[in-house]
């Protein structure tokens, strides 16, 4: 087991109220496994990935739970141990590369710092020539042409596709074991989404990385993952092997989600389901999907459904299966 998240609660606090977003999330990643997370916008997918690296914004509070990475709880690690993991073991592709690259620094500044600290974690003290060569290697991995120009560019001088490749290169620099990819194609032109997907797919296989892939694009998840979690309003609703999940979805939310996405490649998961996400300030006490669920029962309102193991690769959280 590479990563095991259990009973994870995350809130966003502001002066006036608290948003209770993650509501007891669980998730497991085996070594070499490729895990998908699906669920509509605002379900807490990005929050979950940021929590794994403990990089939540300052108002994000982890109030309960554990994240066991290779036997150690990430939430209890010292700064030094955490830095090692961040530098060379887990890498993250952010949702929006434009937002995740500092607008007033050249790519070179940012990438060199990233590489420098990773190599220092490996006990090396890289010269700028080594940093340059390492950058070229990474850019070659992500098929980024004209590396010298890219290094000298500011993010706004690159096309969306190139920015995403830079972002992927940065994530690869640190992803020795686990790659977190947060909707890597959502902010891209339709014409290059496919290229980027294939790129990530190839890299994951080539480098034998464990992956958590968050995506709107169900087709992408279908082809690229071994196992899928369905996250809705901060709750894991269903967990199953990818084929099993898409062919025999058990949770009402998953069923609607798949049914509302006519072609598996299309984007905009969940928009076809009536109603909207609950207010995180005051979410439903029982099942968080109950306000939108066509099968809602009395007990759904006040009792949160438990985890029900249907078979060895299928877990659902719904009172229909009690």
């Amino acid at each position: 087991m590479l990563l095991k998240i259990d009973n994870l609660y995350v809130n966003y606090r502001s002066y006036w109220y608290t948003l209770k977003v993650l509501n007891g999330v669980w998730l497991k990643v085996e070594r070499g496994e490729r895990v998908g997370i699906i669920g509509e916008s605002g379900s807490g997918k990005t929050t979950l990935l940021k929590t794994i690296l403990r990089i939540l914004p300052q108002n994000g509070i982890i109030s309960k739970g554990e994240i066991i990475y290779e036997g150690r709880n990430i939430l209890k690690l010292s700064d030094g141990e955490l830095a090692k993991i961040r530098r060379r073991e887990i890498g993250m592709i952010f949702q929006d590369p434009m937002a995740a690259l500092n607008p007033v620094f050249k790519i070179r500044d940012q990438l060199y710092d990233i590489l420098k600290y990773r190599m220092m974690a490996e006990g090396r003290n890289p010269s700028s020539k080594e940093l340059y060569e390492e950058s070229l290697k990474l850019f070659n991995d992500v098929r980024l042409p004209d590396p010298d120009r890219v290094l000298e560019s500011y993010p706004f001088q690159l096309s969306g596709g190139m920015r995403q490749r830079v972002m992927i290169a940065m994530a690869l620099a640190s992803a020795g074991k686990l790659l977190l990819a947060d909707e890597p194609t959502t902010n891209l032109d339709v014409t290059i989404q496919d290229q980027i997907l294939k790129l990530i797919h190839r890299l994951v296989i080539e480098k034998n990385l464990s992956t958590i892939l968050v995506s709107h694009a169900l087709g992408m998840v279908y082809h690229m993952t071994d196992k899928v979690y369905v996250l809705y309003a901060g709750d894991i609703m269903e967990e199953a092997g990818t084929k099993e999940l898409f062919n025999k979805p058990k949770h009402p939310y998953t069923q609607l989600l798949i049914a509302s996405t006519p072609r598996l490649s299309s984007i905009g998961v969940g928009e076809g389901i009536k109603g909207k996400l609950p207010d995180y300030r005051n979410p439903p006490a029982g099942c968080r999907f109950s306000p939108r669920c066509p099968y809602v029962m009395d007990k759904c309102i006040n009792t949160k459904p438990g985890r029900i193991q249907l078979n060895n690769e299928h877990v659902v959280s719904c009172h229909l299966y009690d």
């Binding site: 300052q58 961040r86 890498g91 500092n102 607008p103 710092d113």
Partner: protein, 350 residues
């Protein structure tokens, strides 16, 4: 051949495409416009400058003669034309109060003001960045709360009130610093650049240098406090906003040390709004310097300017306003350069 002929034209166009060249050209046009405006305003205001200059008891024919000397009986555009001709000859017209050329007067009084402003800017930059970083690094800490209170008070109280408060407390009560003037009685510095701190250093007079510095502290501080408060508050706010941006979280995700993230990756983008605000602060600083100079008996341009207003010293008014306009233009070009260094996107937007 054709290419050769086109070349100078293209060079000219390239030159005009240069942001700073364009900015300087705009500034010249603006200063020109200001000169016309002030020239007219000064002349249409009620009151007879010649009479004011010579006093109520001067005989009418002398006053009339004086009016003719100043061409006050001619139409305004003729007066302006002669004034322009003067300007191109390096003269700004006769002052009705000192009976010297306005430019000579300005060159005498300007250095004291320049010295005050430069010292104020130094205090402002150190104070604003120091306090902004201290409080932005640890929001809601004790020091942050202190800075926030200071920021409110600093902005709410105008600089001439600060001047009086500081003068009272630091000079009169505690007797730590001198209350008036640029130098203590008996301390003499030869006039080289007109900036006494510089001149005292050039002439190797350390005692005078320190004396000049102690005289600068209270006036500059009173001018700087409002700006420091405003800029520190903006720097704090941008830092707090920026440390939650994905591009900062991305750096944390790679295990880069927090101090490098803060002082390199968060501070630089946060400085952009702060430096931009400085342009505005600079304008108010120039205005406030007038009052502060009066309070501290500072022999700068302001007393000259205010006397010019009261005595309706036409040419002096135009001269002083133009100098302020020029100072503002230079300041804004410098700030532009700093902003375009901080924010590379600016260059491409231009």
């Amino acid at each position: 051949m054709v290419v050769l002929e086109k070349k100078p034209l293209r060079n000219l166009r390239n030159l005009l495409n240069n942001y700073y060249i364009r900015k300087i050209l705009y500034s010249i046009v603006t200063l020109f416009g200001i000169s016309i405006l002030i020239f007219i305003i000064a002349r249409v205001l009620p009151g007879d400058p010649a009479r004011l200059a010579l006093g109520p008891r001067a005989p009418e024919d002398v006053v009339e003669q004086y009016r003719r000397l100043l061409r006050l009986n001619e139409p305004i555009y003729v007066q302006y034309f002669y004034w322009l001709v003067d300007v191109f000859h390096g003269r700004f017209g006769l002052s009705l109060v000192t009976f010297r050329d306005v430019l000579t007067d300005i060159l005498e009084f300007l250095p004291a003001t320049v010295e005050l402003i430069i010292f104020t800017l130094i205090i402002d930059i150190i104070g604003a960045f120091g306090l902004g970083v201290l409080s932005g690094r640890r929001p809601n800490s004790l020091i942050d709360n202190f800075v926030r209170v200071f920021a409110y008070v600093g902005i709410a109280i105008p600089s001439f009130v600060w001047a009086i408060i500081l003068q009272l407390v630091l000079a009169n009560w505690l007797d730590l610093l001198p209350a008036y003037g640029r130098l203590s009685l008996g301390v003499e510095v030869p006039r080289i650049t007109g900036l006494v701190t510089v001149d005292s250093l050039i002439s190797g007079n350390l005692v005078a240098f320190i004396d000049a510095l102690t005289h600068l502290i209270i006036p500059s501080l009173s001018l700087a406090i409002g700006c420091i408060a405003q800029e520190a508050r903006i720097l704090r706010a941008s830092l707090i906003e920026n440390v939650n941006k994905d591009y900062i979280l991305n750096m944390y995700a790679h295990g880069i040390p927090g101090s490098i993230i803060f002082f390199k990756y968060a501070l630089k983008p946060s400085m952009i709004p702060t430096v931009t605000i400085m342009t505005l602060d600079m304008a108010s600083m120039l205005g406030n310097a007038f009052l502060v100079e009066l309070i501290f008996n500072w022999p700068g341009l302001s007393r000259y300017g205010i006397t010019a207003m009261l005595r309706k010293d036409l040419n002096a008014i135009v001269g002083v306003v133009l100098v302020i306009g020029l100072a503002y233009t230079i300041a804004s070009i410098i700030i532009d350069l700093v902003v375009s260094y901080l924010d590379p996107r600016v260059k491409y937007r231009r």
